[in-house]
Symmetry: C2
DNA sequence: CTCCGTTGCTACAATTATCGTAGCAACACG
DNA sequence: CGTGTTGCTACGATAATTGTAGCAACGGAG
């Protein structure tokens, strides 16, 4: 009966399986949204906050730090957050969600 | 516990853009992971819990309820949670994440 | 120079979400 | 009957998020 499935750690562990780490990182609040809002062009921290419906700067900074550490987001020397090449690539992989969401509607 | 249903008032978006609602739903803890673990075959609630590294049943039940309400997951009449056709479709859209994560490695 | 507005970023308390453990009722099998 | 599943919930403890306020640093007028 034991459908022995993959038992990998998600939170706070790097036990291999990058997909788990990625799902964990993207599964934190505002993480997906931040990537989504940066998909077109870089935004300043405040513009990003506005784009994210005035989400609290505390979480946004936390997510930005994590996404930066992961190599998806970078802070331009002129100011403003933007996607790295890797981040743009990641964004592409879940861009089909847009089309899916439109059909989903509910 | 605040029940933020998909219908109507979803955190982060009252603009009516379905993508925001979807990003919000998938941005909750274990949501992506649950979909991921169900990608291959249905699992019982306990098998799913095992697959999700013994995540607390409280959240898992919450996520399962939300995902069921969204139409992505269903409870089979013989027991066990599985993806709906829509859920399978959703899973397909972010399956490329797997390949991306492998190249990412962190 | 000072004043003003912006930048990225942080402190702090209050509120939520999640965790971890335990346990329930319903059902099936022997 | 007892034993073992199933899906699901209660509840205190802990971690994450919210909302508000504010900081130092930088730049461009004036």
């Amino acid at each position: 009966m034991a459908r022995q499935a993959i038992s990998g750690n998600v939170r706070g562990s790097r036990t291999g399986r990058p997909i788990m780490a990625l799902l964990d990182l993207l599964g934190r609040r505002w993480a997906l949204r931040v990537l989504w809002e940066l998909r077109a062009a870089p935004l300043t921290s405040r513009a990003l906050r506005t784009a994210c419906d005035e989400a609290s700067p505390t979480v946004l900074q936390a997510r930005l730090s994590e996404l930066r550490e992961a190599g998806f987001v970078e802070l331009g020397d002129g100011g403003g957050y933007g996607l790295t090449a890797l981040g743009r690539e990641l964004c592409e992989t879940f861009m089909p969600l847009h089309r899916f969401a439109e059909r989903w509607k509910r």
